[in-house]
């Protein structure tokens, strides 16, 4: 483990720079952009979960007073298949058809047409005037049934990818994938105990507070400006460009403040529609989704069926592990089953394993990324089965995980060898934690589980500008969701050696700053942070050079210390140090404004492991679950802003517990979601949860100057199995499926 380093600013928790404007209502979110002559756009959505669209006629709507544009699938170009980077948005040809249905409506709520009118009311009335002729088809709603050879097909041209031979028949299985190592049969033969189970989890939504919203304006030259709430305006620009077949250069995207995304705002829904409507109308168009639209028509994460079999010896050593995963992709391919398969065994060193994953089309909304996409479902299954192993061999669940824990040098199931990682450190911290050493409260049960997420690097750019008074502007292109402005500012202050208060961080639009991939994959503090640090190093190099010129020295005779240029040790010179402010003040004489920059495709994102445990109490007469305490322990590499890292851990725990206990997409037999609102899609309210206790473990990532790993996604992974395992501990009954809603628990307890 690297030695602890004392930093001045990194590791402190100043208030967030965007906080005042947010709590006073000044901050501009997606729906806050208003322009003169602006129209309101609304979307007509399919009333069928599965139907052929025989015709769409918008002419009556277009003829109405106050309606200025109406579009349907026929108004969009056909789009070439291909990936747009980011966090697994999928094939852009599919995204295009998701944005506006063409020949088929593939889920209840699928966009079929859109209008722009002078008011929301007129727009909504105009939707009623659009004539659509549907030929309803049977909806495919169950992931396992969807895989059957005789299942109704969503897409006649979907031939399962990655099979040894190209299939001759289409299928709802968009792709399969396999990871394997060792000899499975031999592994199971060595086992003293074997646990096997099937675990089902329904679709769940990210539940961000701010619905999707955008405003687009296309001028007479055919150039568009789009304001939107997004996790990545550069990717939104790229997707819109491909979907409309417009040049990148004709599209400018400006990211608003964002009221949550959790992966769900990495893909476009409204933006291409708003641009097209604005082009047709010649006026700006604003589109804002209702909460109901958010639930019905934006990406939740996959519902899943996971089958797991684990063999272990009485000493806890896992001898073999097998998993079969089927994930709902929704209407188009792209379920996060690959990351699910890659993560399921990741915390452990297992010699013999096999995991098969299936990406399956069903008549539900196309899934989008949700915090550690794919990992919670698969790891829930494995961590629950592992809990049963611990019970059968009578071993403490933390000890069992320690016996098998991956460490530096372990070959990850998905290929590479881990560099320094913090999983063992998390287990050790859990073992010593006062919440773990204290007895389980009367009537409650304790659950333990591990979590993991890869984290990603990808492309980032940053510019650092020095004002004439020596204060600092950091410019980068990642929408600030979790407090990244503050983290960028802290890293810049630390690197430059200037007080944090003198640094301001801005999120540029697609034309004022260099390309940055999405705020997603827990990459921003790592990758964009790396770019900011490198841009600051560029500034330092320039400042040293200017000081050297001022002092008549060579560049290498100057060093940068505590925010000042000083002669290098051994250089004999009678000069006073030059601070950043001094150098900025004399900039006109030393070469003009001081501007640093960096751009990179970051490598070496560090995996972040976690151990979570919680005490949950079950009311045996109603099945109600109360979370008495919950503790998250996670390796952050280095917490640049510890309070925000804790916030990520607490927020992830809250979302994971909500998913475990009550959240679920409930469908009727026709494929209509029955609970498309926060009343019946039950995210936890504040009083549902105790204070989530956190402990940050810091095993620095060798690929980042301050050791950052990325922390945003791992926290949602373990709580699902923690809840299942605690309910098992409390009741003596194992419930494999989620959510652990009161009716499900009571039915399990009374065995009916």
């Amino acid at each position: 483990m690297a030695e602890a380093v004392d930093y001045r600013y990194v590791g402190t928790s100043p208030v967030r720079p965007d906080g005042v404007d947010k709590v006073t209502g000044r901050a501009q979110f997606g729906a806050d952009q208003n322009l003169p002559n602006m129209l309101h756009g609304s979307v007509l959505r399919s009333p069928h979960a599965h139907a052929r669209i025989k015709s769409v006629d918008v002419s009556k709507a277009l003829a109405m007073d106050g309606v200025h544009a109406a579009v349907s699938g026929a108004d969009f170009p056909s789009v070439q298949s291909g990936e747009v980077g980011g966090e697994g948005g999928g094939d852009v040809a599919d995204i295009a058809k998701n944005v506006m249905a063409r020949d088929k409506a593939l889920y209840h709520g699928h966009a079929v047409a859109a209008v722009a009118a002078t008011s929301v009311e007129i727009a909504e009335r105009a939707l009623d005037a659009i004539e659509v002729e549907y030929e309803p088809l049977p909806p495919v709603l169950d992931v396992v049934e969807a895989m059957a050879p005789d299942a109704t097909l969503l897409d006649d041209n979907c031939f399962t990818k990655n099979l040894p031979e190209k299939p001759d028949k289409p299928s709802n299985i968009a792709s399969v994938m396999v990871l394997a190592r060792g000899d499975l049969d031999a592994g199971f033969e060595q086992a003293d105990v074997v646990v096997e189970g099937e675990y089902r989890i329904p679709m769940a939504h990210q539940g961000y507070i701010e619905p999707h919203a955008c405003t687009a304006t296309v001028n007479e030259e055919g150039k568009a400006t789009v304001w939107c709430c997004t996790q990545g305006h550069f990717e939104f620009r790229a997707m819109t460009s491909k979907i409309l077949n417009w040049k990148i250069g004709d599209l400018k995207f400006i990211a608003s403040e964002i009221g949550g995304g959790f992966g769900g705002k990495t893909v476009v829904y409204l933006e291409p529609v708003a641009v097209l409507l604005s082009k047709h109308a010649g006026r700006p168009v604003k589109m804002v989704m209702s909460r109901e639209e958010v639930f019905r028509a934006t990406g939740p994460t996959s519902g899943s069926v996971c089958r797991v079999k684990i063999g272990a010896q009485n000493d806890g050593k896992i001898t073999a592990a097998k998993a079969w995963l089927a994930y709902e992709a929704g209407a188009f391919a792209g379920a996060p089953v690959m990351p699910g398969a890659m993560s399921i065994f990741a915390p452990y060193e297992i010699e013999n394993f096999l995991v098969e994953g299936h990406d399956v089309l069903v008549n539900k909304p196309k899934v989008a990324a949700y915090r550690a996409p794919g990992a919670p479902q698969a790891m829930h299954a494995f961590e629950v089965a592992l809990d049963d192993i611990a019970r059968q061999i009578g071993m403490d669940p933390l000890d069992l995980r320690m016996v098998n824990a991956a460490d530096e040098g372990t070959q990850a199931p998905y290929g590479p060898k881990f560099p320094a990682i913090g999983f063992k450190a998390c287990i050790e911290a859990a073992k010593k934690h006062p919440n773990y050493t204290k007895p389980v409260p009367e009537g409650a049960g304790r659950g333990v589980a591990a979590g993991f997420w890869f984290n990603i690097g990808m492309q980032s750019s940053a510019e650092v500008r020095i004002n004439e008074d020596g204060t600092v502007i950091v410019m980068e292109g990642n929408p600030d969701i979790g407090g990244s402005r503050a983290s960028m500012g802290l890293m810049a202050a630390e690197t430059l050696g200037v007080p944090y208060e003198q640094v301001k961080t801005y999120i540029g639009d697609t034309e004022s700053t260099g390309f940055c991939n999405v705020t997603g994959g827990s990459r921003t503090t790592f990758a964009t942070g790396l770019a900011v640090v490198q841009a600051c190093e560029d500034i330092i190099a320039q400042c040293k050079s200017r000081a050297a010129a001022t002092w008549g020295m060579d560049d290498d005779q100057v060093e940068w210390q505590d925010g000042q240029a000083v002669p290098a040790p051994g250089v004999n010179a009678d000069v006073s140090p030059l601070s950043l402010a001094d150098i900025a003040a004399s900039a006109p004489k030393t070469g003009g404004p001081i501007l640093g920059r960096a751009s990179l495709n970051a490598q070496g994102a560090g995996a972040s492991f976690s151990v979570n445990f919680g005490d949950l109490k079950v009311d045996p007469e109603t099945g109600a679950v109360e979370v008495l305490s919950f503790t998250g322990i996670q390796d952050a590499g280095k917490a640049i802003h510890p309070a925000f890292v804790e916030g990520q851990m607490q927020g992830g725990a809250a979302q994971g517990l909500g998913w475990a206990l009550n959240e679920e997409y409930i469908y009727d037999a026709d494929g209509v979601m029955e609970n498309a609102g926060f009343l019946d899609y039950r995210v936890p309210v504040a009083s549902d949860l105790p204070m989530i206790d956190t402990q940050i473990v810091e095993v620095p990532n060798p690929s980042h100057p301050y050791g950052v790993r990325g922390v945003g996604e791992t926290p949602i992974v373990a709580p699902l199995a923690v809840a299942s395992n605690a309910v098992r501990d409390a009741t003596g009954v194992r419930i494999n499926d989620l959510p652990l809603s009161p009716p499900r628990i009571l039915a399990a307890l009374s065995n009916d």
Binding site: A624, N675, P684, D688, P742, P743, A747
Partner: protein, 292 residues
């Protein structure tokens, strides 16, 4: 939201006049109290134009009278006002408990008992408590005032006995005799901001020896309307409201229930839980009666 007109009559007669005028001319009028149901509904699918008749400005819907024999609660009084009334809380703690469950602090600044009742949701929280407490609805209309017991008020999901020219003035409750206690419990999957999956209100009166001389049990969210369960009350009268009697009362509630399976719970679940709630509320009501 559709187009609508707004009127705020100052007297019962004016309010009845507006309602009658609309009814006679085939125009739609809808009474507004706190609006915490109505405004949400206006944003939903029913966008037909109408006149909103705000009854909050009328003396009779705002009066709160705690008399020697009778308690009168104006139909439009926000639950926040009721929740803060210590005398009311000590007389009818179960009813106030139920009012205090509605929504959140913000919602309670507006939400009224009258609105909760007139919205006539099977899951309305205050209705089983009002039934247990022998509530009587005071209804004003073109024919004058009439009174209807709360348990007879709702006729189906979202429907009730009032005609187009009537509105609810207030609710009357007999002042509870000595050694009487009431309680209301509901089950929701979350701790707040949710709709009852089942609810039960119980009132019991004990004699000097702790034997139950009178009881009332109301249940909610387990049938198209909130119900008075006479069999449950009968199971308590003559007992000390011990575990056995409570179990029998609970079983009577399960038997009286005719729930549905929906996104909030199954038939089996609701039947079981309404019994649990009746037992638990009954025990609280008993302990309150003993302490009273």
């Amino acid at each position: 939201m559709g187009e609508f007109a707004y009127v705020a009559p100052r007297s019962v007669a004016d309010a009845v006049g507006v309602l009658q005028d609309h009814a006679n001319n085939g125009r739609r009028a809808q009474v507004l109290a706190g609006g915490t149901d109505l405004l949400v509904q206006l944003r939903g699918l029913d966008k037909a134009p109408r006149t909103i008749v705000d009854v909050k400005k009328i003396e009779e819907t705002n009066r709160l009278d705690i008399g020697g024999d009778e308690i009168y609660i104006g139909a439009a009084i926000p639950s926040a006002i009721l929740n803060e009334n210590e005398e009311l809380k000590s007389l009818l703690p179960g009813l106030i408990e139920s009012a205090d469950l509605i929504g959140s602090t913000q919602i309670q600044g507006r939400a009224s008992l009258g609105g909760n009742l007139c919205n006539s949701s099977p899951a309305a929280d205050t209705i089983p408590a009002m039934i247990a407490d022998r509530g009587i609805c005071v209804i004003a209309g073109s024919g004058g005032e009439r009174e209807v017991p709360v348990e007879d008020f709702c006729t189906g999901v979202g429907t009730n006995v009032m005609t187009g020219d009537e509105f609810l003035l207030g609710l009357k409750f007999p002042r509870p005799p000595a050694n009487t206690g009431d309680a209301y419990l509901r089950f929701i999957p979350r701790t707040e901001m949710d709709i009852a999956v089942a609810g039960a209100g119980v009132s019991v009166t004990l004699d000097g020896s702790g034997t139950c001389t009178a009881a009332r049990v109301g249940i909610g969210a387990v049938a198209p309307t909130p119900l008075l369960v006479a069999d449950a009350a009968a199971a308590l009268v003559g007992t000390t409201v011990d575990d056995e009697a409570l179990a029998a009362a609970g079983a009577a509630c399960s038997a009286a229930a005719s729930p549905i399976t929906d996104k909030r719970g199954t038939v089996e679940y609701r039947r079981k839980v309404v019994a649990v709630l009746c037992r638990r509320a009954g025990a609280i009501a008993r302990d309150r009666a003993l302490a009273a």
